[in-house]
């Protein structure tokens, strides 16, 4: 009853009657709004797509898959209409601006964008040989060189993985993904939790105090959380350590490290050699090499490459002005290296021997001279003394007789 009274109240109001009589649909309700989005995004220029997969890794709803198309002869993104949420991440992360979603693209064309990735890339400064291969292949110029080491800009990186392919050293560019991170965060949480419950007592596990590799650290503070001593993450220093080894366990990127690391090249069946007949001996390669793999021969004064140290980065190959460096089989280069090394060693041995002999000779000669001079002086003085004494004696007797 009450509500019907209120109907009456509202229906008899002047404003309502006015509105009722002049009722018509406004134009803006018929036309779709201008900024209505086209969902899902479409691939506008498939021929310009570089198949980097940035859209696939940026999609939060897993709606994009890279699929090989026969007529374009490359992988192109295929967008699942049902799963797309129209967030526009793919459009903004596309480095070649191929994708199109309504007029969102126009408005975000020049804006910076951080791409969420399934995999993150980070350079290990202890393993990096600073050859710059990653920098040259990066399609979005996300890698920079800052005097000491190369660095990947996380914000610019689109996760195309080309740098990892180009890098000559195994594991110099580390990959970590959400799964690994989650596991490590979990582990950290569990260790902390059991510590609070006083369940776990850890004895000494590792032999030395670990160090922090600066370029690998992502400041997640997992190590600080589990550390029984203290870690100063601002200066990347372990201040005090009980050697429990938990920090190494929970670090998601392996930035906590003990012991030495060795560089393992990816190409193991081939190696660079220097052809001696072409080489002009300028030694640019010797200066360019970052891993000390090039030695100078004692005999010819020409450089040669040590395949055991060489990481096949190709810096010397690129720098050589007369193209005297080429790539051959590992066996050949190793043979060559051994022959040269043996010759070098022999040469060095001979030179060393000669050196020693001449040194000895000179010393002996000097000794002999000194010795003989002394002897001569001695005998001389002896003779002189004897003669003078004799003369004195004879003089005396002559005096007596006189």
């Amino acid at each position: 009853m009450a509500s019907s009274l209120w109907y009456l109240y509202v229906l008899t109001k002047k404003k309502f009657i006015k509105r009722f009589l002049q009722a018509k649909t406004e134009k803006k309700y018929i036309l779709p709004p201008k900024r209505f989005r086209k969902i899902p995004p479409t691939v506008e220029y498939p021929e310009r797509c570089i198949s980097c997969g940035a859209c696939e890794s940026s999609c939060p709803s897993f709606a994009i898959k890279m699929i090989f198309f026969q007529d374009h002869n490359k992988k192109l993104p295929k967008i699942d209409v049902g799963a797309c949420i129209g967030c526009g991440n793919c459009v903004e992360s596309c480095p070649s601006k191929v994708l199109e979603i309504g007029n969102l693209k126009e408005e975000t064309l020049s804006l910076p964008w951080n791409v969420p990735k399934y995999k993150n890339y980070i350079i290990d400064e202890e393993l990096c040989v600073n050859c710059g291969s990653c920098r040259t292949v990066c399609p979005v110029h996300a890698i920079d060189y800052d005097k000491n080491t190369h660095k990947i800009d996380t914000n610019k990186c689109i996760g195309c993985e080309r740098c990892v392919e180009a890098c000559p050293v195994v594991d110099a560019i580390r990959i970590y993904d959400e799964k690994v991170l989650k596991e490590k965060f979990d582990l950290c949480f569990r260790i902390k939790f059991s510590r609070v419950l006083k369940e776990e007592e850890r004895s000494e596990v590792i032999s030395e105090t670990p160090r922090i590799v600066k370029s690998l650290c992502i400041n997640c503070e997992n190590c600080v959380d589990v550390c029984l001593g203290s870690i100063n993450l601002e200066n990347y220093k372990v201040v005090s350590c009980v050697k429990c080894g938990s920090c190494i366990e929970v670090c998601p990127t392996g930035a906590m490290r003990i012991g030495e690391v060795s560089r393992v090249p990816k190409i193991r069946d081939k190696c660079y050699i220097i052809e001696e007949d072409k080489c002009i001996g300028c030694r640019i390669c010797y200066r360019a090499c970052n891993v000390n793999a090039i030695d100078i021969c004692c005999d010819t004064r020409l450089p040669y490459i040590n395949p055991e140290k060489c990481v096949r980065c190709g810096v010397c190959y690129k720098e050589c002005p007369v193209e005297a460096i080429s790539l051959t089989d590992m066996e050949n280069s190793l043979k060559l290296y051994r022959v040269r090394k043996a010759r070098d060693n022999f040469e060095a041995m001979v030179i060393k021997d000669l050196d020693e002999i001449s040194k000895k000779y000179a010393q002996l000669k000097g000794d002999l001279l000194e010795f003989s001079q002394k002897e001569v002086e001695k005998t001389l003085s002896k003779i002189v003394n004897e003669k003078i004494i004799k003369q004195d004696d004879s003089d005396a007797t002559r005096d007596d007789t006189c």
């Binding site: 803006k28 939060p60 991170l181």
Partner: protein, 375 residues
Amino acid sequence: MNVIPVGPINPIFKEPIRIKLIVEGEIVIGAEIEMGYVHRGIERIMEGKHYLKGIHLAERVCGICSYIHTQTFVECIEKVSNIEVPDKAKYLRIIATELERIHSHLIAVAVYGMAIEHETFGIWCLNIREKVMDLLETIAGNRINMGFNVVGGVRQDITREILESIYNTLDTLEEDVEDILEIFRKGPLISLRSKGIGVIGYKEVMKTRAVGPVARASALPESDWRLRHPTYKELGFKPVWAEEGDNYARTLVRLKEILTSIELLRRALEFYEESTGMVRKKVDIKGGSGEWRNEAHRGEVTYKISITDGGIIKRILIRTPTVMNLSAYKYMLKTCPTVSDAVATYISIDPCISCTERSIYLVDRRTGDVKPYSK
């Protein structure tokens, strides 16, 4: 003494929850609340993910107030890594939040109208809400999950025409809301069913830490976190409050807050027109951890975040307002004469269950092991 189970699936509820009302005849004595029907473990999913994916996930914490969650998340990260937001973006954020607050409050009032069997009132509110939703769509592109916020600003700017359409809609909106308020004040049925029912006093609110309109209806205006937000301070915000602490006061506070929101919107739009520059800045995320609070439409929302360099979420903790408001519900029941009043009281606190249930910890009773539940 009898027990009446309500829910978990019940036409009056927006989301599944189970309330066991303890009654003596028709009089309600107490209630037991059971949760855990819609847990989704959203905090666990976020761990180890890039923060941009985190924004999309934070948006899905709640179905109605999705925007304020992204804003709190983003402002928390901005606080951790010391990022200044451009002026335009600040005001755009306020505009979106306040529009969302209007539509959220309108839903709350509409559902309350339905709960006291005044469907017409409810439908009127929902009709008005539609205009706000259209505005939100023109601003951000989507109606609910807008994906509008990013760290360092907002995703896109608005144009002149949109600005004008907001101004125009605000005028009609104000008229409509005033109409609704008039009906709400004068309608006999509404005041009969809601005045003096579900009363909660100042002290009980302090005891249960209730937040939002529930606290403000019991004479606690300083519970509004907008008072402490830097941009709202610029806009000269003043909270709305009432003293009675009953269902009527709570709904009235909501309706009045719509009017303050409209005022705030007008001021924010003016400020927006004066400001220049980009709406989004390039950001560089630094690792660290921090905390940020915002006034969501139901009360205070807290985000605690620990983040690594490059923006990977290490751990996140979300606290939504409904948890505290549900515990206040038990005190309100003391002044509920009938079962249907108890249900109406429950609706008047505007609960949001999927907000509340985010992560679950499994406790093994025998061994006492506690571990987070995932999958």
